[in-house]
Symmetry: C2
Subunit: 326 residues, 2 copies
Amino acid sequence: MSAATCSTGALRGPARVEINEVAPRDGLQIEPIVVPTDAKVAFVDALSACGFARIEATSFTSARAIPALADAEALMHRMQRHPGVRYTALVPNLRGLERALSCRPDEVNLVMSASETHNRANLRMTRQQSQAQLLAMIAEAGAAGVPVNVSLSTVFGCPFEGEVDVGAVMDLAARFADAGAAGITLCDTTGMAYPNQVAAMCERFQSKLPQTGLTIHLHNTRGMGLANAVAAWETGVTRFDAAAGGLGGCPYAPGASGNVSTEDLVHMFDCMGVQTGVDLKALLGIVGGMSGLVGREVHSQLLSAGPRLRTHQAPAWLAEHFAGQG
Amino acid sequence: MSAATCSTGALRGPARVEINEVAPRDGLQIEPIVVPTDAKVAFVDALSACGFARIEATSFTSARAIPALADAEALMHRMQRHPGVRYTALVPNLRGLERALSCRPDEVNLVMSASETHNRANLRMTRQQSQAQLLAMIAEAGAAGVPVNVSLSTVFGCPFEGEVDVGAVMDLAARFADAGAAGITLCDTTGMAYPNQVAAMCERFQSKLPQTGLTIHLHNTRGMGLANAVAAWETGVTRFDAAAGGLGGCPYAPGASGNVSTEDLVHMFDCMGVQTGVDLKALLGIVGGMSGLVGREVHSQLLSAGPRLRTHQAPAWLAEHFAGQG
């Protein structure tokens, strides 16, 4: 746990956290429409002004697999880079890494699944094949001087296989950390994580790999997104993936909702006195325009309800009803 | 905290909790349609078979104020009482208490708000008037041998006034406990609570009133419902209000969503290894029929996504694609 702990309230955790905004990649990749590059550039630029620690801008995948992100190079070149924000991109294979490196990302995010069936379905490789590719990619990115993060999918459960072995997850994380990955993201790909599971895995990770940056990636499929975030935070986790408007999902888990929404997460940490560096008002302005961006209604709980201290007018009849009373 | 603590995972809390199902009262009172008494009886009877510790069946309020619950006596007389379930009813005033007592509830639940404006808007009394009535009602119920719980609304924030003074909440709770209330419910009426606030208030309550049963009533308005439930549980809280299908809301907080949904809460505790006594499968069967009950679509996240270990078929192309591979 960070030396600076949050002093408000009975729960203890770090006083500051970092938010990694993943909607431009993890959100837009699954939307049924292709957002024009101009609109993506404007979206990323607006997010850049909000104060995120990281923005995952795009994915260097094949245009055939994910047509929605076929403009990865154009986006990376045209977006404005704000000082203080690290721009990262998902990279699924060596070909993608070469494309990514030509765009000077501040970091690349590699990905594989902890469960065999999900890895095959999502990446069309066995875990063994993925692992070999990732090790080669870590070496190549390292040679280019670009830090690497590895996102491990389905670590809290697999939509095909059910429970996933925690020891195997830790071994995988350790192999990539040993090979030079600066960070690991533990991903609850389809919202199967629950609070004490998250806390236990985060404790184990930090104890085993104290020098490796740990990020938690949560979905809200079964309502536990923020509960899991607090559980991770209580163990000292300071980095969280989230998607504005709760975009995202998983094509292999019907009924699964999207990522934990950034505005809900930032609002909660704001309430708790935990600094995120994110300007919630600016973020809500962006979320308010997201239905236009993706061409469908984006429902944001926080945008509907407003931040907790946005008070309402008392009913007009009150004053008359209580006239003369204390 | 209870002597028996949950041994699974890195978070610690009680090994068992009790769920108080409030949908028949807190949910149906705000629905735009009046559910026929037959359907209510069937609803309560079905809930009774699920294993709840308590069911808040109805409210003895004026038929003019809440026409949807005008059949309180009929429901209380016609529903089947299951052994092991405590049937409680909300009672807003002395007239209501007399009606309630004639129906032999196992418990009555009185209510007032911690904030002046919400109390006036919701109960049309000043807090001083409400407090005097509640003290008289505690005495009358006590004389009739019926245990009293007092639900304190807006203790984590008021939609009209904003922050609510915690010391005043504790004084109010202590006054009713001293007068003979067996239990107090701290209500997050419009979803303004956040996790370390909930934990701090629950700790303070249990330290000040260790002999008084503490229930937490949460809404999911800003996505923090389950996070707040875990925060309370971590301080030792064992009683939770929840509404099947997430019914409920507050007429004075536009945009506010309903109560924490019982199925989400039970599912989370199931995952965590915390016993609730509630049969989730039976409950989900009821939730699946609730759209018919209230005549509008009731969206349940858990019903859509399924419990976390409900696995999916792997894509059909996988077997062929990986034929001959490891």
